[in-house]
Amino acid sequence: MSSIHPDKVTAERLAGLREAAHTPGRDEGPSLGDGSLVEDPAIRPPLVLSQRTHSEVTQIVCGYAEDPPPKWWFIAITISSTVAAVGTGMILYLIITGVGVWGLNNQVDWAWDITNFVFWIGIGHAGTLISAILCLLKQRWRTAVNRSAEAMTIFAVICAGIFPGIHVGRVWFAWMLFPIPNSNGIWPNFRSPLLWDVFAVSTYATVSLLFWYMGMIPDVATLRDRADRRLRLGVSKPFMVALPGGREVQLPLPKPDTLRAYIYGLMSLGWRFSSRHWHRYEAAYLVLAGISTPLVLSVHSIVSFDFATSILPGWHTTIVPPYFVAGAIFGGFAMVLFLLIPLRALLPNFKDLLTIRHIENMAKIILVTGMMVGFAYSMEFFIAWYSANKFEFEAFANNRVNPRVAPYWWAYWTMIGCNVLSPQVFWFKKVRQNPWAVWVVAIFVTVGMWFERFVIIVTSLHRAFLPGEWGMFYPTWVDILTFAGSCGIFLTLFLLFVKFLPVFAMAELKAVMPDADPHPHDDDHGEDH
């Protein structure tokens, strides 16, 4: 294998042997950034940097779960769990008092509750897309992000599940959402999209959990074996707690490795790394990917039916199912980037496994899905006009867009700014390849996707057909703290995941490294030696 020293490139450039700019159309480009930004279409960029070996990847990934958590982790989880506790308190307050503690009223009877529900359920879609669709499409780069994205999916679905449950008012009747035979002979309305939601979301949660857990079994078994080995070698440390003043006290608890060997051992379901196990695993993985793929589309399509089957102006429009799906993937990838870019900076060696190329790829997906969402916004607006339906057009023009008459114009324009305009910077390679710039856009997109649901739900409800039925929605402090609480729950769960479970799919990551290729005969390597 040869390598060209950057100095030589510079020298050649100065000597006029090499062109300076790397515009499209030139054959070669210098390696940029962290080494993953290969511009020569004849070469595939490396997916793991610093030429890590398989054992180093194991060390790195297991280290996150085995080493004492860094200081920032304690600070972060303290804050997030406090917020989660406040949110839980708000839910209790709501259950004790009634939904009147929210700002809902006769006119706007769905607001932040359903906005939050759709927001969180949408976030989850990126995980399923990465693990299922990108798997079927053989996108090898997904191996660096699939585990954490799937984890995020589960946690987002948990957050989403809270809201339909508590918004019904009498929470103790929430079981009536399910078609359970009962002595009153009361059944849910099977023709209601709200019931389909129950099925769609619970199917989604089940399959996502299975997929995530099953994919994790080999990696959890690795953690188990490492703990077990340390116990056998007698190098396991006891539980120590640091006191102020630098002293450490041993706690009368089993050693962490004993707990690990036991808990990871239970979780790994007897995985022994035998080839028979791998064979079953691969087959099951493909089947689950196949099952999850339609779920990526179906769940948010059915959520969109909650709105689109009605005849409310602004809700009833046929493009809504694919538009909601595109928006969900859009918001989901933004959340993946929002979580992983700081982790990349905070956790050691994370950058070797999650390269700038990965971030750039996800930025491109955000651009594409953002354009799809923008396409849907413009189609809705165009057809609202083209339909010549006065109510439909006014629902857009006068309830959303026009600042002079629409009280929620600021929400609409926040949505457009965040979802359509902000991703446009990703047309530029410089921005896509700058993790912190991508992070900022990811925040904008996350905000924008929350506002999208708010705009759809509240602006259509606050202006009914008769002006006498017009109203406004003002959130109460309970609304705000409940939503904040759901963010706290989400982040707490994610931080726990980062500490206790393998953040990368080690086994899959190793499979896309050059070491995994049993026939490494790249046609132009070797001959240069």
Binding site: G29, E39, D40, P41, Q51, D67, P322, L347, P348, N349
Partner: protein, 448 residues
């Protein structure tokens, strides 16, 4: 909680060779030489012999011309609306195939899809026919405008005063319609020429950078593709009933386009394989993946068609349901509707799920031809009911009435389009010769 052992995560990065960032010109030439020596790259394997296409293209041209004459005769024998509708059904299928191929070519570039290198040339050939489609569309537009709105009733004088039409007139007027039509032609011409010519240029020069040119142009190309395809579908298909509107309409047409284009490429490749070409270059692995694309676009079409139908059915607003009333009503349209539901989705979905079907060239080619037929059926279902509505409703002969005219009208544009396709296939190497990802496509394997 604290452990005293040193954190295992701070693993120092050992001194290792930096991975290569690009091939030098010499290394690249070496790889090209190696590729040229690949058994699949024999000249006669990836080229058609001189004059091999003359017979087929001649046949297609004669058939197309004959069908066109029959269609024109039919316009006098039955009526012009019927003849034009039949011609449009075939023509829109051609447009769908070419547009879909342009879309997929750009998607392959955007995704750096290595395995598609050996099949991409045929997508380019299909996409290169967009100007041909546009010229045929120009004929339709001229007939419509000069004939005062034959199927596009919004053009006719009789509709003048219609309240809905007055509301829509800023969009539905001859001037703006003409401007839009010119824009579609221009965009499609520019995009298809960029993709085809750059690829052919790379065959000669072997410049890797041309792949980046195509990727760069695919980025903005996909955006303008989406807009022009959606508005083309509004103008030529949705506006057949100017009262009807659906935000999904552009996506619905796009779904057919993507599906039909993969299908036609599978057919072309299967024929080339039958002629003993492309051995080792396009294998059952490629057919398997193309089959997966057909399967997924079949599902995608069903998803879009169902969503559109379902939301309109559920809300049950007359201004939307009227469109479906014509298409699920008397005269065999209900049967056609069911044929689409089962024939365009349920049956092919169940069949294409099987791995074997996707990997046996003959079977997959049959399914591809079948899916093109189903796309034609979809177009018939969209266009044909518009022939006998309003004042003409009493003359409605049903789906089967004047079937000879329908057949001729549909076959005519397909054969003319086929003539140009066959010529395009014969005119260039059957695969890109110096694509930087060609070695991946030649070694392409699915999961074993």
């Amino acid at each position: 909680m604290s452990q005293t052992q040193a954190p295992a995560t701070s693993i120092p990065i050992p001194e290792r060779e930096t991975p290569r960032a690009y091939l030098t010109e010499a290394q690249w030439r070496k790889r090209l030489d190696k590729l040229a020596a690949h058994p699949a790259m024999r000249h006669d394997n990836i080229h058609l012999p001189e004059g091999a296409t003359t017979k087929l293209s001649g046949l297609l041209l004669i058939a197309g011309a004959a069908a066109l004459v029959i269609t024109i005769l039919g316009a006098f024998a039955i009526n012009a609306r019927h003849a034009l509708a039949a011609f449009e059904v075939g023509l829109f299928t051609c447009v769908a195939m070419s547009l879909g191929a342009l879309f997929l070519t750009m998607v392959f570039h955007s995704l750096n899809a290595g395995w598609t290198s050996t099949v991409r040339r045929q997508f380019e050939n299909v996409a290169s026919l967009l100007p041909v489609c546009w010229v045929m569309l120009l004929g339709v537009v001229l007939i419509e405008v000069l004939g005062g709105g034959i199927l596009l009733t919004w053009l006719s004088e009789e509709m003048a005063g219609d309240h809905l039409l007055e509301q829509k007139s800023p969009f539905l007027n001859v001037g703006f319609f003409g401007v839009r039509f010119l824009i579609y032609g221009l965009v499609w011409l520019v995009l298809s020429q960029i993709m085809v010519r750059t690829s052919l240029k790379q065959d000669e020069t072997g410049q890797r950078g041309l792949t980046r040119v195509m990727r760069f142009n695919s980025g903005w190309g996909l955006l303008v593709f989406a807009l022009t395809t959606a508005f083309f579908a509004f103008d030529f298909l949705m506006a057949l009933d100017f009262r009807f509107f659906s935000t999904m309409w552009g996506v619905y047409f796009f779904a057919s386009a993507a599906l039909a284009s993969v299908s036609v490429v599978v057919l072309v490749l299967a024929v080339l394989k039958g002629m003993g070409r492309l051995t080792g270059a396009v294998t059952e692995e490629h057919f398997h993946d193309l089959g997966k694309l057909i399967l997924s676009f079949t599902v995608f079409w069903a998803y879009i068609a169902f969503s559109q139908y379902f939301l309109i059915w559920y809300s049950n607003i007359p201004e939307e349901t009227a469109w479906y009333v014509y298409r699920t009503g008397e005269g065999g349209y209900k049967a056609l509707f069911l044929v689409l539901a089962f024939g365009h989705f349920v049956a092919p979905f169940c069949i294409l799920l099987f791995r074997k079907v996707k990997r046996i060239t003959g079977l997959l080619a049959f399914m591809a031809a079948y899916m093109i037929a189903m796309t034609v059926a979809d177009m018939i279902w969209i266009v044909r009911p518009m022939v006998y509505v309003g004042e003409h409703a009493s003359e409605n002969p049903g789906v089967w009435g004047g079937i000879w005219l329908d057949a001729a009208g549909i076959v005519a544009p397909l054969c003319i389009w086929g003539f140009f396709l066959v010529r395009a296939v014969g005119a260039s190497p059957l695969i890109p010769l110096k694509d930087p990802m060609l070695h991946e496509a030649l070694a392409h394997k699915n999961y074993v």
